[in-house]
Amino acid sequence: MTVVLRNHFEKSLGRLQDHTLLLGSLVLQAVSHGIKGLVERDIDLAREVIAGDPGVDRMRYDVELECYGLLATEQPVAVDLRAIVSTLAIANELERIGDHGKRLARISLRISNQPQAIPLGDMAYMGDRALALVDRSLKAYAQRDVGQAKAVCGDDEYVDSLYKQAFNIILSYMMEKPQLITAGTHLIRAAHELERVGDRATNIAERVVYSATGELVDLNG
């Protein structure tokens, strides 16, 4: 049986993780709504995502300040230190994922008056795959699951290949019909935002591996 001498600190670490996961659920929603706004041309939803972004930023700062407070007052070492510094990095990645959601929403506002000739089914699918990576990286974070974290990094290659595929398809539409160039260019940007979401999931996974093992390695191929 392990006796925990620092119960108060242990609880603080637990709260920090809860707050980070809450931030995670907010940005998952931002990206998910960003995709929905784009694919379903839901302008109200897109505006909601943009309006929600400052709240995401605020929550990230709060997590950051919580980390600084623990570093200053608890003098954490070893696994505790790694958990806190990893959380700092993860909170940063999460906020950036929220930014990708915001940019998706902005793109949907930009192309709302453009002809809807390029099918967006691939985009929705790619978005789901990218979001699943973030979700799994957060589960790995919550459960300190190194195996799951490494699997996330392996599966990001699939999202990367979906991006290349989407790029080529959108390009072919633009070549065929130059009047689709404006919308197509915006959609390529949107696909790129989603590809970046997948990359950030692997960045989170790398920090989960560091937190659990002390090894800081590039798992992003």
């Binding site: 049986m1 600190f9 070492v77 070893a78 505790d80 790694r82 002390g214």
Partner: protein
């Protein structure tokens, strides 16, 4: 035992313990400790009370000889020679490997005489005033005491007394200084002064410190050895790493549990 300390640059070590076992009567206090201490670095011994860290430190300059029931097996090599060799003079050993204790223990004499004492006994033939000044300067005490060298050392504050004891140890020109909880009786400011002094001294001396203040080991040392009691209460070395590695990513679960305050 996990030992991730890289070899010293020139392959030379200040002190090397080999298969060290220390007994007090029938009780084994230290079991099978082997470790190499890097020269001109600060090495900290940490571990729970009774894990044998002070016993191990004291074996490095044969202080345990003063305990009649103590018995040492194995070797402690100092510049290649075993200090427990039958023809090794413990007084000579202690001249080269000095010691600073937990509570400052100046003699009830003047500040000057405290520093000059060891050198006089050893037949120092140089200019004593210069040696005293140099030693007090190295111990970062000169500016505070230069105008009252003839006053009693007992009038100094605890932190000043401890630095005086360090000056006294330095004055006989050792190359290694053992420190047994040197700051545990001091306030935080005096503690930081001692730690700063250790960093400066490490340019010229090898320092080994026992501390039960883990933050102090983390702040003030280059290498850290973690000792723990086995089921029979004999202390053994669990992990020996660079201080950075030990406090960020210890390899042994027992080290991690101890330094993060989780006891198995």
């Amino acid at each position: 035992m996990i030992d991730t300390v890289p070899p010293s640059r020139d392959g030379e070590y200040a002190i090397e313990a080999r298969d060290l076992n220390i007994y007090y009567g029938k009780f084994r206090a230290i079991r099978d400790v082997s470790l190499k201490v890097h020269p001109r670095k600060i090495t900290a011994f940490i571990g729970p009370s009774g894990c044998g860290k002070s016993t191990l430190l004291r074996s490095f300059n044969r202080m345990n000889d003063l305990v009649s029931s103590a018995r040492v097996e194995g070797e402690i090599l100092y510049h290649g020679a075993n200090i427990y060799d039958r023809n090794m003079d413990p007084v000579q050993v202690r001249r080269h490997i000095g010691m600073v204790f937990q509570r400052p223990n100046p003699f009830p004499k003047s500040i000057y005489d405290n520093v000059a004492w060891g050198a006089r006994i050893n037949g120092y033939r140089g200019k004593m005033e210069e040696l005293v000044e140099q030693s007090l300067r190295q111990a970062a005490l000169w500016d505070e005491v230069k105008d009252k060298l003839n006053q009693s050392a007992l009038g100094l504050s605890g932190g000043q007394q401890q630095r005086l004891c360090i000056a006294r140890a330095i004055a006989i020109k050792p190359d290694t200084i053992l420190m047994d909880e040197p700051a545990s009786a001091l306030d935080p400011i005096a503690t930081l002064k001692i730690e700063e002094l250790m960093h400066v001294l490490a340019q010229n001396y090898t320092i080994i410190i026992v501390t039960h203040n883990m933050q102090q080991a983390a702040r003030a040392s280059d290498f850290t050895a973690f000792l723990m009691m086995d089921a029979d209460r004999a202390g053994s070395l669990v992990e020996y790493s660079t201080t950075r590695d030990l406090f960020t990513a210890p390899r042994d679960k027992r080290t991690e549990d101890y330094i993060t305050g989780r006891f198995g």
